[in-house]
Amino acid sequence: MSQVAFPRITSPQITSPQIIDARVDVELSADGDPRSFIWNRFEHTVIGQPQAVFSRTSWWENDGVPTRIDTELWRLDASRGGEEQHRYDLRHDVDGSWVLALDWG
């Protein structure tokens, strides 16, 4: 018998994230999940299974036909060296670049 757990995305304890909005380099695991990213010259190592969320856009309100109708966001826990882990949102853009969007603390 299994117990269905609420995914971390819906965890209520986090309130005010810090907006970072910085391009980062992300290293992927063999499975294709982010394994680590480099921000402020420091490598941040991902802990546990990161979770991807694709959120749709109201593309018809913008110019031109988009190649994607959603944005790709990865929510993951990572730590810098041995420091306490933070929760981050990483955005993966259509051009392949990664942006560290939020630091949830």
Partner: protein, 1127 residues
Amino acid sequence: MTPGMAFPHLHVASAYSPHYGVTLPETLAEQAAAQGAGFLAVTDRDGLYGAVKHVRACVAAGIRPGLGADLAVHDDEHRPIGRVVVLAHGSTSGRGYAALCRAVSACHESGSAHRAGKTPSINRARLAELAGLRALTVLIGPDSDVGAALLRRDTAEARARLASWLRTMPPGSLALEVVCHLADSGRPGSVAPATRMLGLAEHAGLPAVLTNAVRYGTPEEAVTADLADAARALTPLAQLEQLQSNGQAWLKPAALMRQVARMVVDAGTHEGGALERLLRDTELLAERCALDPVADIGLGRPRMPEASVIGVTGDPVAELWRRARHGIDTRYAGTGQVEAAHARLAHEMKTVEHLGFASYFLTVARVADLIRDMGVRIQARGSGVGSVLNYALHTSSVEPLSNGLLWERFLSPERQTLPDIDLDVESARRHDIYRAIFATFGSDRVSLMSMTNAYRGRGAVRDAGLALGLPDDQVAAIAKQMWRFNARDFRRALDEKPELEALAAEVRESQQLDLLVDLTAKLDRLPRHISVHPCGVILSDASLLDRTPVQASGMGLPMSQFDKHDMDPMGLIKLDILGVRMQSAMAHAVAEHRRLTGETIDLDRVPLDDPATYELIRSTRTLGIFQLESPGQMELVGKLQPEVFNDLTVEISLFRPGPMQNNMPLLYLQARHGEVAPDYLHPRFEAILRETKGVVIFHEQVMRLFDELTGCGLGKADVFRRHLGKPDQLPEIEAWLRERALERGFPPAVISRVWKVLAGFGSFGFAKAHGAAFALPTYQSAWLKTHHPAVFLAGLLTHDPGMWPKDLLVAEARTLGVPVLGLDVQHSALDYRVEELVDGRQGIRLALPELAGSSETERARIARHQPFTSLQDFRDRVRPRRRSFEALARVGALDSFIGYDRDRRHELLAHIQGLQGTAVAIDDDQLAFDVDLPVPDYLGAVTSLDLRGRTQTDLELRDLHLAIGHHQMERFHSLFAELGVTPASALGSLPGGTEVLIAGVRRATNTPPMRGGRRVVFVSLDDGTGPVSNVVFFHDAQERVGGQVFSTNYMLVRGRTRRSGAKGVSVTGENLWDLFEVARQVAQRQAADRLATAKADAAQAAETAGALRTAEPHHNVHHLWPATRRA
């Protein structure tokens, strides 16, 4: 497949899920194969619409196909319980596929579909029954009632609902479907309900499989799926509640599906090894559902109706031999061709036996017999006409040997496709025939065929506009301009086409319109819906419904979900039974003749050498004659001057876009009339090309040339002929042909010339079998027009088979001396009838349906209660609406109540307008009250405004759209005499190059394909004196005349006669004027002349007259116009 490297997708909607899936099966299969998958299922919504295409695409891509359907289900109380995916198991000798077909058909059975709402839906108990054959798996996923409860986090309810499924369905038939599109939390497709589904499977001890509920191949196509959703819901995207959560329902490769699986497993608490088990169970199910295209689906295995249903007890081959020999002995008796026919039969039967098609021929012959026994006219068409066997079996009525038709054009061991025989029948009886075929063969063996309707420009722009929420009128205005280019090229068309410049400017200004252009292009060519094919009937054995799902067609009979492209691969025999209006028109003529005279005309036995018939055809008065009545055909027939039946075949075959664009008519005509010597290229080709004077026109000639050059045999020659249309194959064919032809003694120069002809021929041309099959009704209709014009025209007017407006047919009747009798409630029937007149002539009585705005019930009551003793009797029994009542009076249909004294019509009308209250309703079977019409009370008292100032012709045109009493142009005849207009009937006597004025009402406009590519506009004018006169406006004249060439309907034209052949004459138009404008100005001038005072007016009128008189007809045409009557 390598574990871990491949992911088998089990739930995929192709573009054949209308308004849902957006990627074609071929693209999906190629993509899956490129991703390393060894398996792909297609599970279209509500059906197997894309199934055959999917299976063939998988075979081509080297992967194994799975088939299923995404179906709505309802419970015993007809409550909807969501959607599930039903998958067929493979390696079951077709049991899985058969159960799937039956499940889909059950979804569409009217009982279940309509009671559970508009969506097709299957009863769960019925699904359980079919799953009881242990060859189906039902996936309970997010769209099921269970999934809905899980989305609400109501695990208890989900468990209860699943328990209900488990109680109904047989053990082992269920699996739970885990779908995760990584959507925002709380939305469908998010990870939470997916992980709950996995948990539920563990709790219930059921296998769980991972799918991606795929709707498109790539993320780029998610936009198109949004459009499909808007179109399905008829709601703009901005207001659409059930938008897809995101764009992740694409055919993800294995790595991404594993990633999804990891996230799903990680998001909940599951038993150890849950991830690997989920992926393994998915692969196991795919393994189970992999279908063998041959063993499971029966791909490529033809199935004919069983011998018993085609009336055969013994061996079909022996029976076919027996019937064919007998047929030859009777049909060829006395022709001197009996032996040749038997020899040809032996040749044909060899192939039939080799291919195992004996039952096919017996089946088609059985259908032809059935149709004939119903008393319906039937005519085979297509390459099957080239077969002596079909002729002997009475399937076809064109004799192949004397017409030089070839069996190999129809069937040969080299042809890999099922044969195709088309039957043309009376259009009015087509549905009766379908029902009779269902009754005879049984609805488990017969189905109608469907056709897929795809988005084209206008539909695409409308649905894209709807999705964007653009105003209807704006979208409609744009849709109007969507023609003569593909919607997918919309952007380029805006840049290139000058007529779209205004729209292009708007698009530059508007972000929304700019989006619209690209979205329209995305929708172009996507399947939209299926509908019944206009002529395809599928005939098979009792396994038919195990091999194709069916749904109700618009006419109620079941229709297969497969279209014509699916027939041959599925081994389904398709008969094209096409309704042809001309066949109905001729049947009507024959029936009228029998009604009037008691004589039966057997059109199929009319000798094909009647001189009077050819005389009529040569005169170019071919209006109403099958295939020959268009202006272009009239001209060609005038040049060609047919003398024998074969000339008609040649004529019809020449009048095709390919031959026209390649100048073949001219080459043929020059040789035919001895202007140049026929060029046979080589003496050994003369026998092949003699009938067309050296011009290669027919497919059969190409085949014979191939055979003569290479000795390849006619069967192989037909294969080469087909390849001529494929440019990449030409070099190979040429090399082979040159080599063989040299060996067979043809000089290189001759080979080069004949190859040039063959290669240039391409694949266009025409099968002579088609041409001859068309020529027969052409001759028959010409014969009827020659010898029985009244009944023939009655048939044409009733069934309206041709291109011309009925008003012109009425005019033609008048010219042929056949009186057209006005509408009369005492005599008019529901169709056009012929009446014997006191002077011995035959007249055509106008039919009741011509009364504009009348209702079917009114007309039926008139026909039923004729004759009427009085106006009151008429009113009581017919109970006409006031509008119809008055219209009947205006056109004279009630004249019998005023003693046919048309001067009293206004009194009649006034009386009707004065009637108060409702008619006394009388039972249909009760005798009428006999009360006299109180007309005398009104005598001389009332003049109806409705009649004042209008001619009878005006009233007829208004209420009937036909001018019955007089030709509508008669009112202009005095003007024509004044201006010196040449009557159409007199044009034929003028030499070519004569300057003329002609005039009339426009009857047709044609822009036929032309050598050189410049548009030529043909306008056919009717001035009431005879057949139409055809005016040709070439490019320079079109520039001079402008839009009037399309917009002016009553016109005066100045031009020069242009003679074409002995009888053909047309006019090259140089300028044109609006006839009403001319009439007004001439009237002004006359007024000015009479008064001789108003100089200004005279000057203006003189200017017009001067312009008109520049034509100055060199002969006096005044006397040619009939004395002008009051029209």
